[in-house]
Amino acid sequence: MGKTVAEKIFDAHHVDCPSGDIHVISLDAVFCHEITTPIAITDLMERGKDRVFDPSKIKAVIDHVTPAKDSKTAMQGKILRDWAIRHGIKDFFDIGRNGVCHAIFPEKGFVRPGFTIIMGDSHTCTHGAFGAFAAGVGTTDLEVGILKGVCAFKKPESIKVNIFNSANNPPNSGNLPKGVYAKDVILSLIGQIGVNGATNKVVEFCGPVVDKMSMDERMTLCNMAVEAGATSGICAPDMVTVEYLWQFIKDEYTSKEAALQSFSKFRPDNDANYFKIIDMDISSLQPQVTFGYKPDQVKPVSQMEGTRIDQVYIGSCTNGRLEDLEIAASILQGKKIADSVRGIVSPATPDIYSKALDKGIIKIFMDAGFCVTNPTCGACLGMSNGVLADGEVCASTTNRNFNGRMGKGGMVHLMSPATAAASAIKGYIANSDIYLL
């Protein structure tokens, strides 16, 4: 019987099988941020175990609240910073060099096909876009990861999601319908299978549409796999993966083909066994938007058109990357956002910010009336930089519309950067199609 990507990765990292279906696997990377790591550090210190398994495999960033907004968040940053220095963790990104964890770690080349990665953050599944097994964990698992470089999982079954567009000409050339983006695809999938539809499973994305997607788009897909309960999203490694990573791996391989050949051992077998296979024809997919407090409550934008909004937020680990800003800017170019709307854009990393400056994208946002923040999670989880007041509504490119997520009593509608930009101009939820050529 053939194997899925996750099964191949598990087999390559086997450490122990303490009982039944529990597998302890070795970790290639442990990612850390300042919200969930400090308690793990403090606990290790209290236990007299202030050690790290391998400082070169630990990557840390201050991203959720940065710059610190008060004494408590300053202390969280300080605990992480002091720890990184104490243990010689070189890949530590502090203010000025910091960005949203799931955007900055791939950008720095810290993810490889076949890697096992944990982080005290549920959207760690984002890194599966590179053909890695990447899972969010709690503080205790993180603590053990830091100390021992291992983590225990049930060996996950996989759900294969085959994404294609039957209306393409030539057939199955993998193009998205006009105005539809990776965000719409994943929102639609979550709407279809529900917030519980992939619990304890890995979602393996494949098919012509995925093959054609850029790494930015694949990261958007995998990022939201956890909103269907998945342990990790995964896109099998291909030439797109190699091209993205090439600057980091060119000394390790004689050619891109050689790298691809090596990564191919983490592609799924044709006869792999899946828990379920979902064929997703996106030929008639329209832009999607959420309407309730759960990410599976989605509707086509056309059915939500006209919904009043107070704020538009473009950013986060889901949609704060360069391509996202480019798409939004292409719609905002030469236009102003509605007087009644506050626009906030947060480029996810300094590199994205800097490239967006070079390309004139930041100027477009500013001319349109957006506030541009430094790279941070900020408003996404309602901790800083754009918290909603009771009763306010935000059109957001983030990944969670939970009650109170962006501020107590606030309502969040999740959507693509294109829909968010069009909505900013109109002052209500609006389809981007009128602005697209």
């Binding site: 529990i22 917030v195 519980n196 939970f402």
Partner: protein, 174 residues
């Protein structure tokens, strides 16, 4: 081992997420104890009264996909510091469930039909649970109404409960 007995708090809804259990704005706290007053602050549940309903409760009985969303272990901790070490549901989000056992607490899945029966019989009553870890049963008690519910947890989860969590277990074994 922690205490798994006591009065029941019924949360009659599926998909209760960790933002509802403990909102992100409290994640800046560095002690677990500081989370105590904020448990379930943002829950969307008709008739729920945070100030009154949590007090004196030791067990939560809820529906499906409990603890979805954020990975924050602050969610189990917020229960723990309120004296709640046991959550019974028909399903859990993976990270929440693992976090519970990693802390030596229990997140126990029981069959949906059985859970429906428990809700029907007990949800409107002053109910207590007695957990028997040898026989692996929960005894639901309200006035003269008694219902015994068998449960299973894996040997591995049980070893975490006995060890009081995953850190010592892992440090000893790996």
């Amino acid at each position: 081992m922690k205490n798994f007995n006591g009065k029941v708090l019924f949360l009659d809804r599926s998909d209760i997420n960790t933002d509802e259990i403990i909102p992100a704005k409290y994640l800046t706290e560095i002690s677990k104890e500081a989370l105590k007053p904020y448990l379930l602050e943002d829950i969307v549940l008709q008739g729920f009264n945070q100030a009154k309903d949590i007090k004196g409760k030791s067990v939560v009985v809820t529906r499906d996909n409990f603890g979805c969303g954020s990975s924050r272990e602050h969610a189990p901790w917020a229960f723990e510091v309120n004296g709640i070490n046991l959550v019974i549901a028909s399903g859990f989000a993976r990270i929440f469930r693992q976090n519970m056992f990693n802390c030596g607490m229990m997140a126990v899945e029981i069959d949906k039909a059985l859970l429906d029966r428990i809700f029907n019989l007990f949800a409107d009553k002053d109910t207590a649970v007695e957990t028997d870890m040898d026989k692996m049963t929960f005894k639901f008690i309200a006035d003269d109404l008694i219902e015994i519910v068998p449960f299973t947890i894996s040997e591995y989860d049980f070893s975490l409960v006995k060890a009081g969590g995953w850190v010592d277990y892992a440090d000893k074994n790996y």
